[in-house]
């Protein structure tokens, strides 16, 4: 029997950029769940030894209180540093000239709905409902809110391509938004996961102007869960 001829081009349903990370399994619900569990275990592995050691020291000799406090501080700081890494995915890029910025924001505004447009103007982030949860898309990354957890993805226009560094902010967001809309699983596969944890950890690390977007996304999730209950 003759072999089926292989298509020279990948399917259009799959983000072509996934070919650049062919070793990564394509993200699905199960993989998101596994990643969440892994992050929880990693956080526990950082926190429990420090807290346990502090408790042990205090039990052995209360005079070791200063050392115990240092250990507790470590247990607190390490997860905070991870959350900061997560918040950094939404750090805005430097602005282009006013005219290209306006023009790019106009195009982005045309791509999103009325409510998302208001939120974009206020926070610089686009709220997009997906199959996995609610996304907040920025210039250099995106947050996925799902259940009581947030996933912070670092993803941007490929800087190795000519012209990428000169793009205005609206275009940066639009690139990510279109890729997300075309293939959500592929988008999450291409992006690098910087942090996953409780939204409250991330909230205080976000720029104040962006916090309303996180609150809006969480509100959307609450409404979804109350509808499905």
């Amino acid at each position: 029997m003759a072999a089926e001829p292989q298509s020279p081009l990948p399917s259009l349903d799959v983000l072509p950029e996934t070919a650049g990370v062919h070793w990564r399994p394509r993200v699905d619900e199960a993989r998101l769940h596994r990643l969440a569990t892994l992050w929880t275990l990693t956080t526990a592995a950082h926190v429990v030894p420090f807290v346990g050691s502090a408790a042990l020291l205090m039990w052995l000799n209360p005079l070791t209180l200063p050392v115990a406090l240092v250990l507790v501080a470590h247990a607190w700081v390490i997860p905070e540093l991870y959350a900061q890494r997560g918040a950094n995915v939404l750090r805005p890029h430097r602005r282009s000239a006013a005219a290209p910025e306006q023009r790019s924001l106009g195009l982005l505004g045309d791509l999103v709905g009325h409510d998302a447009r208001d939120l974009l103007a206020e926070t610089g982030l686009v709220l997009e409902r997906g199959r996995f949860g609610t996304w907040l898309v920025g210039e250099t990354g995106a947050l996925l809110l799902r259940g009581r957890r947030v996933y912070c993805y670092c993803v941007r226009v490929d800087g190795r391509v000519t012209g990428a560094s000169a793009l205005p902010s609206g275009d940066r967001v639009a690139h990510l938004l279109l890729a997300l809309r075309a293939d959500e699983r592929g988008f999450a596969t291409v992006a690098n996961l910087s942090f996953s944890g409780a939204p409250w950890r991330l909230r205080r690390r976000l720029r104040p102007a962006m916090r309303p977007a996180l609150a809006e996304a969480e509100k959307g999730l609450d409404m979804r869960s109350s509808r499905s209950a």
Binding site: Q102, L107, T140, Y153, A166, P168, L178, R181, V190, A191
Partner: protein, 74 residues
Amino acid sequence: MSRLIRMDHTGHSTLAEWTSDDPVAVEAAVTAFRAQLERGYLAMVSSGPGHAEQVRELPVDAPLVILRLPIAGG
């Protein structure tokens, strides 16, 4: 009137405009479209609220075709 636009340093540039009953304009748009794909751009069209799809041939009936650059994990 359909438009082919490319996101670039200017915000975006309109590369072609056409109507499906104007074969000369369509041909010019197809040529511009293919040239951009060869430069490494990816073509996207909106397919309903919250949905987009990639295309490799110019969809003549689409009102707006957007050319974007590839993305990568940061």
